[in-house]
Each structure stands twice: as structure tokens, then as C-alpha cells.
């Protein structure tokens, strides 16, 4: 009986973890490249995930007020993933919720900066 309950519990945990893994674009420790799919390929990096979420959900004026809390990096900037929260950001632009990805910049003028970016701005980095 105890063995059966443990098996069920393990199954549920695996299922939950698998969902979280499936919904996140990147995972802790991965090397990524930042690149936006909007008209401007630069990427805005936010000092908190709440501001990242607010930027995409807010009106233009509110978003403008949030800009001092953002760092702009050019397309192709390298970074390492330190965390990922699935389905965290919603926006009229997206067809569904997007993940928020915490990264540390590893190239360019902002190297070393730890910020939050939108999941869709993250591309997997393929090492040669």
C-alpha cells in the first residue's frame, strides 16, 4: 500500500516537473543568445520579473515610466540562464502566456548584469 502511494506521488511529481520543464523555453545553466522577434531585435532586460510582466501588460505611458528599470542589449548578446518561470507574462501581443527567464549577461557592454527577459527573446546557444 505504502509502495503504491509512493509510486503515485512520484508519478504526480514527474508529471508536474515535466509540465514546468516543457513550458519553459530555457533551463538553469543553459547558455543562450538574446534576440527579439519584434521589429526591433534589441532586447529589454528588467531588474525584476514584476516589471517585465508589467511592461507587457501595461499601457504605453506606464511602460514608458518603467523604462529606467530596463537595460537594452543588442541582438546576439550571450547569457546564462539562472531561472525560468513558466506562463508568467501575458500580453495582447502573445497568443498565450510567456515564460520569464532570469539570465546573467556573458557578453557585450552589459556583461555580468543579472536581469529578467521574456521567454521568446531567448534562443538556445549551440556550441561548436
Amino acid at each position: 500500500m505504502t509502495r503504491k502511494a509512493l509510486l503515485i506521488l512520484a508519478g504526480c511529481m514527474i508529471a508536474l516537473t515535466a509540465r514546468a520543464v516543457a513550458d519553459c523555453r530555457a533551463h538553469k545553466g543553459e547558455h543562450v543568445v538574446l534576440y527579439s522577434t519584434t521589429d526591433d531585435p534589441s532586447v529589454l532586460m528588467w531588474d525584476s520579473r514584476a516589471r517585465l510582466r508589467a511592461y507587457h501588460a501595461a499601457s504605453f505611458d506606464v511602460a514608458q515610466a518603467l523604462l529606467p528599470h530596463a537595460l537594452l542589449v543588442g541582438p546576439g548578446t550571450h547569457a546564462d540562464v539562472i531561472s525560468c518561470i513558466p506562463d508568467y507574462v501575458t500580453s495582447p501581443l502573445f497568443t498565450g502566456p510567456e515564460s520569464a527567464v532570469g539570465v546573467i549577461v556573458t557578453s557585450g557592454p552589459s556583461r555580468g548584469a543579472a536581469r529578467w527577459v521574456l521567454g521568446s527573446d531567448v534562443r538556445m546557444f549551440k556550441k561548436r
Binding site: D40, S42, A63, L67, L72
Partner: protein
């Protein structure tokens, strides 16, 4: 004969009117559906055009941004002119699309387009103009604002796309609904038409059956009462009848030859107002009543006068009248005494020509005016032609009546034999009147072969 003519006609008219009304409603419904669907398709086409225009606008916006980037990278003035050209193109296109959206009442998309245009104008003033002015001073703040504008413009364009797509989907759905409704409505109308047609056909069949029964009955009456070919000594007799109303098969024309005695015969032709069974029955009444009166009177004028009285008392119909010719022929001496109550189609064909016999009194059933008798002696070779007004009043294509003169010419040209003459006259009327023949025609021809005096 369960339904009178009024009921038959009214029933047929009502059913026809209902059918026509149903048909009219169905046709109107079809046209309305067509207009509605056509309007929907037109609006869908407008939305598609707006979507195409929006993509063009977006291309112009990207051209503006790329021109700015090109200038910042190269400082080449070419990009400045490209930027101005793209900006002018963007503004013109935006105005055109905005006007079109307003005209097409796509207010949601129009409002979003306004937001989009405002963002672009703000981007120009707060990002593009400062960067064109100081291309070397690339402030991060300006770059971030550029990114912000880009994101929000992308977002707004996406919202416009969604609004247009939603409107298109709604229209497609409403078109489908309209088509469904229209199909159900048409199917219902077809069902109604079908049922009505069945009812109408059944009713018509019943009416036709009743009409055929009446027609058959009328023919029997006609054969029984209208005429009898009573042979007269020394005479060749012919007769013909043409009905102008084939569906009723009988009118009010009657003729009769009746031997009152060995040497005396009654010649009668009359045209009674009315048609159908009533007229057929009346012809029987006329024929036998005149025979009865003629047995007691030796003067045609007296016969007409007495019949006039009897007619007005026997038939209480203020609209009934009759023209009548009564002749008493002495078959020995061939003297003809006659009187004509308003009946003017009586002719005498002689070798030297055709003459018309005079009318000697008014039509019967109208007034109590006296009638007058006339006498004329017939000779061998003479043919007395008694006809009804179907002969003289037949019209040609131009609407001209044949008249007395034309009738006399026709009689002169007709065959010698009495029956041939009668048939020739009917043929002539058919040729002249065609489908325009409106009056029945009765013809009775009596050719004198030889007189008693000649025999002596």
C-alpha cells in the same frame, strides 16, 4: 353543376391570387437574401482590402525605422531622404486607411489604427528626430524608447489584425447563418407552393369536370332546341352554327323552320342576350313559344307583339332582350310575310344581287312599340339568308366590322347550294375574325327551287 360560374371564377381567382402572392413573397425573399449575402461579401472584401492596406502601412513604418538605422550606421544623407519619403508614404496611407475604415464603419479597427499612428508620430518626435539631429550621441535612453515604440506598434498592429480578422469571421458566420435561413425559407416556400399547386390542380380538375358536364348538358339542349332541319317543299335548306365561346359551347342564337300547315311555314331566327345553360334553355322557350303563338296568328308583327308580352312576363330579367326575325312563308305561292324586331342580318340573294330586308320594330324585352309586317314575293333561284349579328359584326385585325355591305358581298360570293352558302359564310367569318370572333353566328339559308306559280 354544384358551383355557379361566380363561385368558380371567384375560387379560381382567389387561388391564383394566393399563389401569385406566395410566389411574390418567395421572389422578394430571394432577392433580399441575395442582397444581404452580396452586402456581406462586399464587406468581407473590404476587410480583406483593409488587411492588405495594413500590411502595406507596416512595411512603410519599418522603412522609416530602417532608414533611421541606416543613417545612424552610415551617416549617408540618402537615408534621410528615404526616411522622409517613407514618412510621407506612411501618413498618406494611414489617412487613406483611416477614411476607409470610417466609411466602412469598422470603428474598433479605426480606433486602434489611430493609436498606432499616434505612436508612430510620437516615435518620430521623441526618437527619430533627436537621433537624426545627433547621430553620434547614441543615448541608451533613446534606444530604449525606440524599442518601446517598436514593441507597442507591433502590439497595436497585431491588435488591428485581430480586430479585422474577428470582423471577417463574424461576417463569415453571419453569411453562413443568412444562407441557412434563406435555404430553410426557400424550402418552406417550395413546400407551400407544392401543396398549393396540388390543391389548385385538384380544384381545377373538379371545375373542369363540372364545366365539361355543363358543356355536355348544354350541347344536348342545343341539339334538342336550337334547330331542326324541317324540309320544305320546293326548297333547299342549309344551316350552320359557329360558337364564339367554345368553353360554353352555346350562346343565345336560335333558328327554326316549322311547318304550321301544308302550305305555311314559320321561319325564325333570334339572338337572345346571355350565354350558357340559361341561354340554351331560353332558346327552347323562344322556339316553342313562337311556334305556339304562330299557330294562332297569321301576321308576323302580331306574333312578335304577343311574344314580347309573354317574354317580359315569363322572364323577370330587366337585362334580357332579344332580336328576332319571324317570317311566314307560303310554300305554295312563295310569298313571304315577315317582321323583324331589331334583327338586321336578313338578306335575300337574287340573281341580280343581294338585298337586306328591313328591320320593322325594336328589339324584344325593351319597350312596347308596335311591330310592322312586310311582304315580299320569292322567286325560283332566290335564297333567303337568315343570320345573326355574328355575321355583320365580325371584325378584322384592324377592328373594322364586316357590316351589311360586306355581308352582302360575302353572300353574293358564296356557293349556290343552301348548305354550301351557310358553310361559306361561317368560313368567311372564321377567316376574318380568327381568334377575335366574339359573337356566335347562326345561319339559315332557304333557297327556292321553284315556285307554285311556275309549276302551274
Amino acid at each position: 353543376m354544384t358551383n355557379g360560374p361566380f363561385v368558380r371564377v371567384t375560387g379560381t381567382l382567389l387561388l391564383t391570387a394566393f399563389l401569385l402572392l406566395s410566389l411574390g413573397v418567395a421572389i422578394q425573399g430571394t432577392f433580399e437574401t441575395r442582397a444581404s449575402i452580396s452586402n456581406t461579401f462586399a464587406r468581407q472584401s473590404q476587410i480583406q482590402q483593409a488587411q492588405i492596406d495594413l500590411e502595406e502601412l507596416l512595411r512603410l513604418q519599418i522603412d522609416e525605422e530602417n532608414s533611421l538605422r541606416g543613417y545612424l550606421l552610415t551617416r549617408d544623407p540618402f537615408y534621410k531622404s528615404e526616411y522622409r519619403s517613407a514618412s510621407a508614404g506612411y501618413d498618406a496611407k494611414e489617412s487613406a486607411i483611416h477614411a476607409t475604415l470610417q466609411e466602412r464603419q469598422l470603428t474598433g479597427a479605426g480606433q486602434l489604427l489611430g493609436d498606432y499612428a499616434n505612436l508612430q508620430r510620437e516615435w518620430r518626435s521623441s526618437v527619430a528626430v533627436p537621433l537624426f539631429a545627433h547621430p553620434r550621441v547614441r543615448l541608451e535612453e533613446l534606444d530604449k524608447r525606440n524599442k518601446l515604440f517598436s514593441d507597442y506598434e507591433t502590439m497595436t498592429v497585431a491588435a488591428i489584425r485581430r480586430a479585422l480578422a474577428q470582423t471577417g469571421d463574424d461576417l463569415a458566420r453571419s453569411t453562413q447563418d443568412e444562407l441557412d435561413r434563406s435555404s430553410y425559407a426557400r424550402a418552406s416556400w417550395v413546400l407551400v407552393f407544392g401543396l398549393l399547386a396540388i390543391v389548385f390542380n385538384a380544384y381545377r380538375s373538379q371545375l373542369n369536370r363540372e364545366l365539361e358536364e355543363e358543356r355536355s348538358f348544354t350541347r344536348i339542349l342545343q341539339r334538342a332546341f336550337r334547330s331542326e332541319s324541317t324540309p320544305l317543299p320546293n326548297c333547299d335548306i342549309g344551316s350552320a352554327y359557329l360558337s364564339a365561346t367554345s368553353h360554353l359551347a352555346v350562346g343565345g342564337d336560335v333558328f327554326d323552320i316549322y311547318r304550321l300547315s301544308e302550305d305555311r311555314a314559320l321561319l325564325l331566327i333570334a339572338d337572345i342576350s346571355g350565354k350558357g345553360v340559361d341561354a340554351a334553355v331560353l332558346t327552347a322557350f323562344v322556339k316553342f313559344m313562337v311556334r305556339a303563338i304562330a299557330l294562332r296568328n297569321s301576321a308576323p308583327a302580331a306574333i312578335l307583339a304577343e311574344f314580347n308580352v309573354v317574354l317580359s312576363k315569363a322572364v323577370e330579367d330587366p337585362y334580357l332582350f332579344a332580336s328576332m326575325f319571324v317570317g311566314l312563308l307560303d310554300t305554295n305561292r312563295f310569298g313571304l310575310t315577315y317582321a323583324s324586331a331589331g334583327h338586321d342580318a336578313i338578306f335575300l340573294r337574287r340573281p341580280e344581287g343581294v338585298i337586306a330586308l328591313d328591320v320593322t320594330g325594336p328589339v324584344l324585352g325593351v319597350m312596347d312599340e308596335p311591330f310592322e309586317s312586310r311582304t315580299i314575293d320569292l322567286r325560283a333561284g332566290d335564297t333567303l339568308v337568315l343570320a345573326t349579328d355574328g355575321l355583320t359584326e365580325v371584325r378584322n385585325r384592324a377592328g373594322e366590322q364586316l357590316g351589311d355591305k360586306g355581308a352582302m358581298e360575302a353572300i353574293a360570293a358564296a356557293g349556290t347550294e343552301a348548305q354550301t352558302l351557310a358553310d361559306d359564310l361561317v368560313k368567311r367569318v372564321r377567316e376574318r375574325g380568327g381568334s377575335r370572333v366574339r359573337d356566335d353566328l347562326a345561319v339559315l339559308a332557304i333557297r327556292v327551287l321553284r315556285t307554285g306559280a311556275n309549276d302551274a
